[in-house]
C-alpha cells in the first residue's frame, strides 16, 4: 500500500503513459477484435450485421481454418526445432576466444537486421527454378528441378521454412551467444576436471545453463511461426493451388486466397482464435518445459 496519498498520485502519473499506450494499442484492439468476432461485415467494415457468438465455433469447425491450422503447425514443426538447433550450434561454435571469430559472429547474427521481405526475396531468387542456385544443386542429387521447390505442393512449405529458419537465425544466435557468455567459465573447467569431454560438458553444463534462454527463444520462434505471413505472401501466396499447401492461419486472415476476403468480422474471429491457440500453446510450453529449466541461484 502507498504510505502517502501523494505516492499513489505520483505512481499513477508515472504509470499513465504505459497504461495509455497499452490501452490504445493492445487492450482496445483486442477487445474490438473479440467484439467484431460475432459480426459479418461488408468490404468497408462499416456495415456489419450480427452473426452470433457461435461464429467462433463455426470457424473452428470449418475446413478452411482446420487446413490452415494444420499447415501452421507443420510450419512451426519445420522451423522451430531446426532453427533452435542450428542457432545454438552456431552460437556454441562461435563462443571461442580465437582470432577472427568476430567476423563469423557478425555473419551469423546479420540476419537479425534483415527484414522478412528482404529475406524472402533473397530466397525467392535462390529457389527460382530458372536462375536459382538451390534447384541446380538439388538437381545434381536427383531432386527435381522443375516446377521448382516453391511451385511443388510437397516442397513449398519446407522451402518457406528454410527462409524462415535463415531469417530467424540471427535472433537465436545473438540471444544464445549472450546467454553462453554469462555461463561462468569455472563450470566448464570444473566439468573438465571431473572428466567430462566436449559432449558431456555440452549436455551437463551448456544446455542446463542455457535452459531459460532456450525456453524464451522457443516461445518466440513458435509465436513467429504462427504469425508467418510476409514470407508466404511473397514466395507462394498460400499456394501452390489447389492444395493451398502454404496457407497458414495468418495468411487465411489477410491473404489473397482467403475465401473470407475483406470480411472484417470473420477475419477478427479467426484472429482471436489464433491468439487463443497461441496463448494455450505458450502456456503448454512453459508448463511442460519449466520443470527442466534452471533459473540460477
Amino acid at each position: 500500500m502507498f504510505r502517502r496519498r501523494g505516492d499513489g498520485l505520483i505512481a499513477s502519473a508515472m504509470l499513465a503513459p504505459a497504461i495509455a499506450i497499452l490501452s490504445i494499442f493492445v487492450v482496445y484492439p483486442l477487445g474490438r477484435a473479440v467484439w467484431l468476432g460475432h459480426l459479418r461485415c461488408d468490404a468497408t467494415g462499416r456495415k456489419c450485421r450480427t452473426s452470433g457468438w457461435m461464429q467462433y465455433f463455426d470457424v473452428l469447425r470449418s475446413s478452411d481454418f482446420q487446413h490452415a491450422l494444420k499447415v501452421t503447425f507443420v510450419y512451426a514443426l519445420l522451423t522451430v526445432p531446426a532453427g533452435l538447433v542450428i542457432g545454438v550450434g552456431l552460437a556454441v561454435l562461435a563462443d571461442k576466444q580465437i582470432r577472427g571469430i568476430g567476423f563469423f559472429r557478425t555473419i551469423f547474427s546479420s540476419t537479425v537486421a534483415t527484414s522478412v521481405a528482404v529475406a524472402s526475396l533473397i530466397w525467392f531468387v535462390l529457389l527460382q527454378p530458372q536462375v536459382g542456385l538451390l534447384p541446380d544443386m538439388l538437381s545434381m542429387f536427383g531432386v527435381m528441378k522443375n516446377p521448382g521447390l516453391l511451385n511443388d505442393a510437397g516442397t513449398a512449405l519446407p522451402a518457406i521454412a528454410i527462409t524462415s529458419i535463415w531469417a530467424n537465425l540471427g535472433f537465436t544466435f545473438i540471444i544464445v551467444t549472450a546467454a553462453l557468455q554469462s555461463i561462468p567459465a569455472e563450470l566448464f573447467e570444473s566439468a573438465m576436471m571431473d572428466g567430462a569431454g566436449g559432449w558431456k560438458r555440452f549436455t551437463n553444463v551448456t544446455i542446463p545453463m542455457l535452459s531459460p534462454t532456450l525456453l524464451f527463444v522457443s516461445v518466440v520462434l513458435v509465436t513467429r511461426a504462427f504469425q508467418a505471413y510476409a514470407e508466404v505472401d511473397l514466395l507462394t501466396k498460400g499456394g501452390p493451388n489447389p492444395e493451398r499447401s502454404t496457407e497458414t492461419v495468418t495468411y487465411l486472415i489477410y491473404g489473397q486466397t482467403s475465401l473470407v476476403k475483406n470480411d472484417i468480422g470473420l477475419k477478427s474471429t479467426t484472429a482471436v482464435l489464433l491468439f487463443v491457440i497461441l496463448l494455450v500453446l505458450s502456456l503448454v510450453q512453459f508448463r511442460s518445459l519449466e520443470r527442466r529449466v534452471h533459473y540460477g541461484n
Binding site: P184, E186, L187, E189, S190, A191, M192, M193, D194, G195, A196, G197, K200, N204, V205, P208, M209, S211, H294, G296, N297
Partner: protein, 334 residues
Amino acid sequence: MAGVQLVKVTKNFGSVVAVDDFSLDIADKEFMVLLGPSGCGKSTVLRMIAGLEAPTSGEVFIGDHLMNGVAPKDRDVAMVFQSYALYPHKTVRANIEFPLKTRGVDTKLRAAAVADAAAVLGLADLLDRKPGQLSGGQRQRVALARALVRDPQVFCMDEPLSNLDAKLRGETRSELVALHQRLGSTFVYVTHDQVEAMTMGSRIAVIVAGVLQQVGSPTDVYDRPANIFVATFLGTPPMNIFPAQLFEAGEHSVGVRPEHVRFVDSHSGGVEATIRLVEHLGHEVHVTGVLADGTVVVARHGGEEASPRSGDTVTVSAEARHRHRFDVSGRRLA
C-alpha cells in the same frame, strides 16, 4: 599418491609474463601452500598443475609422469575452485557423483562412494538439495566432497575459503588440515591469506610477480625471510624496515618484527619516536610511531602491558638477535 614437480615453468599471456622460470618440488602427501598477493601468478601455477593452463615453457610432473599436453581429466587431479563451481541444476548427490559418472563407474559403487564422501563432510542430510539451497560453508563442503570422491593423487585448491565469513573460515581451516591428515594425499593450496598459509601448510611457497621468492616451513619463512618482500608480506602488522644506521653500522636495511620492538629508557640506546596511533585489539596492542626521519615504526605487545599514549615521545629499540639484515637489493644477509 604422488608428488608434483614444476621444472623451469614459464607462462606468458601475450606479452605479460604471469609465471617466470618457476621450479618447485612438492613432496608426496605434502600440504603445500602457494602464497602471494593478488595477481602474483599463484593461481596460474595451480592451473598448470591441474592442466587448465599449458606452460609456455618448462615441465610439470605428477609422480614420475610428465604432464605437459595431458588433459585435465587424465591427470588424476581434483580441483576445488574459489567459487566452488558447483553445477547449480544438479542436486548435491548428482554434483558429488558427477566425476564418477563421467568415468563410467557402476551405479552401486557410485552410491557407496557418494555416501562415504557425504559422511566424511557431514552432507548426508543435504544430498537431495540443490546448491542454491545451501549456505556458503555447505557449498564448500560439497565442492570438497566432489573432489575427494574420486580419490585423486593431488588436490588443487584455489582460495577455497575466501568466500566464507571469518568464523566459518577458521573452522574450515582446521577441518581441511584434518582432512589432509586423514586422506594422506598431496594438497596444493593457493591463498593470499597469510594466516591460512601459516596455519595449514606443511610448507609455504611465497610468490611475487610470477617469481618464486622462498619455499620453506611456516616457521622458516616467518623467522628467516629470504628477502624484504617475504619479510613484509608475512606478519600482521608487517615487519618494520629501517636504514641500518639507526641501529648499527652498514649500508644494509634492518628488519624488526613488531613484536620485537621494545620501548626502552632513553639512556639505554635506541631511536626516538613520536606515537601517532595506539590500537587496542583486546589480546594485543598495536602502537604506531614516527621516527625523526619520517620512518614509520609499529610495535605489537600484549594487551596487559602498559602502552604509551598518542603524542608521547618514546625510545624504541630491538635486540640484535631479533634484527633481520637485508642487502641493498633486498636479499637476506647471512
